[in-house]
Symmetry: C2
């Protein structure tokens, strides 16, 4: 059994993290060839020589990126795949905005192997920002939009300690550091993102998918497409539930965790209703609505909220109690 | 003294990597406020509700991202800051295209703390892809351009084992995996990138900068701006040398490493001449031209070439022999 590395030492510091390996890989994607375009003269660095840049040639597009951290000793459990939400990257699972350990460390300390992913078009995955390949413009969320959409403060308010939900668990003084980690996203890339994640499962083998917000759809879709490769799905506040066919089979153990303060925003009660419908239809789906078990104030950013490590512990316990598969 | 963790065990496997902490941070950047723009209706996820996206508001732009890995036990040496080249991200220092350990692991195993950085506008740093903020289009290098510009094969050839330099150290069969990690870059962002790196130095304290290609300029500029915070610079094939003022002082110990096969491409001999001028002018600058010491075939991607771990060992030795500062 893998050791629990969550206990503090006598000085109150956590013990070292021990990894039998760490590294990264890019998987999936395909080549696109462009021709017949004019060259462009550019100076690529201060003091550099002007060079002629020929846009004609081959581009690798729609690959994804995963950074792996393999806990020592090996636990024998399937690795966790961390899939971030829209406008975010793998950084969402690292240090919290207020500087505490994130879920990546929390699960490594409990002996899990982890693949910290950047989806297609996000972060270190790269993105096909050549107008002949992706003509669409991305969207970028403003700080104000994040603040209310992520249910840190009530719709119509502006970021600040006075406008936050009174019971918020989000570390509101560090909201700027959440804003700093938001990146552009496209809205036409769902199929490409899912293909990237399926390529990861193909490469690595059976995994447990821990997904947030936008990635909830990808977690459920991946489990449906490759039930042999997705042992369980943990979806933190999925932004949507995919529309499965009426006769679709879905048997992957799935835990959906939902936070608080949903009733003041018209978007969230609709989403909660879809989550509840999904759970009614498939007995393998468990919904953990935190306010229903007395845990109040959680925002959409469950893995950053002040009680994030307690929530990680609950998810760990749920995973450890799954039937062996 | 920090232990050397590079020795293999009896089964030929490297020992575990031990970290006293790991996490990430975003530093630098500034807020931009937009107003008076029309809203846009978008569906943000499959099956999701159409939402009105209001682009008016505040954007955090030009921050940078650093992922830190702190070796256990602490060595007492300044941490290394890994600064990637143009069109790349921090992934450049991780697993090599052919699946070997990268420089990040190589230096962690020698007891160094490391900050794996994504520059402003690259990777997990995010980028201000709002046309009202950054009207310029990025450039994206084709696979063919990378192949010759990085001196894997001779100008005018196409990627493939037959066209590579006969003595190339680049793992040519894995060239596709280098192509997969290339991302778009802008060419108007030098000042913002440097500001981001200075913010990192301000936050962390004295560091040793290990920089590649485009980042050579940033390493030297940062050392000039903050000699108290840059203890040494290791520049792998800098793409340029900044134009320092005639009376500029430069006293930071600096090692510049240059590879092979420069004479067949008009860009590289010019660059080598600038590097040699720089070293003649400042006695703190050491140039290690690998062919001059009998190491042949290195491409522009020194940290990915087949002899990358040998080169890491040479850089480590140079750093360990610096006078205490």
């Amino acid at each position: 059994m893998a050791p629990d590395q969550t206990a503090l030492d006598d000085a109150g510091a956590p013990p070292p993290i021990r990894l039998r390996d760490m590294g990264s890989l890019h998987v999936g994607g395909h080549d696109v060839r462009l021709s017949g375009l004019p060259c462009r003269e550019v100076v690529m660095a201060e003091g550099g020589q002007p060079v002629s840049l020929d846009p004609n040639g081959t581009y690798r597009v729609e690959q994804m990126y995963a950074q792996y951290f393999l806990a020592e000793p090996a636990s024998g459990r399937p690795p966790l795949a961390f899939w971030h939400g829209g406008g975010m990257t793998g950084a969402a699972w690292e240090t919290t905005p207020d500087g505490r350990e994130g879920w990546l460390n929390a699960f490594l300390r409990r002996g899990w192997d982890a693949y910290l992913c950047d989806a297609v078009e996000r972060g270190r995955a790269g993105y096909a920002l050549v107008p002949e390949i992706w003509p669409e413009a991305p969207i970028v969320q403003t700080r104000e939009d994040c603040y209310t959409r992520f249910r840190i403060g009530r719709p119509g308010t502006r970021p600040g300690p006075d406008s936050a939900y009174p019971n918020t668990q989000f570390p509101i003084a560090a909201f700027d550091r959440l804003a700093a980690q938001m990146v552009p996203r496209w809205v036409h890339t769902d199929a490409a993102i899912l293909q990237g994640y399926l390529a990861l499962l193909e490469r690595v083998g059976p995994m447990i998918v821990v997904c947030h917000s936008q990635a909830g759809v990808f977690g459920i879709r991946a489990a449906q497409a490759r039930p042999d490769r997705v042992r369980a799905v943990v979806a933190l506040e999925p932004a949507s539930i995919p529309l499965l066919a009426p006769d679709a089979d879905y048997r992957t153990p799935t835990l959906i965790v939902m936070g608080d303060n949903m009733d003041t925003d018209p978007r969230w009660p609709r989403m909660r209703a879809r989550v509840q419908d999904f759970a009614r239809r498939y007995p393998c789906v468990t919904v953990l609505s935190l306010p229903d078990v007395g845990i109040t104030g959680n925002s959409h950013m469950l893995m950053m909220d002040r009680n994030s490590l307690d929530l990680a512990g609950r998810v760990h316990d749920w995973l450890m109690n799954l039937p062996p598969g």
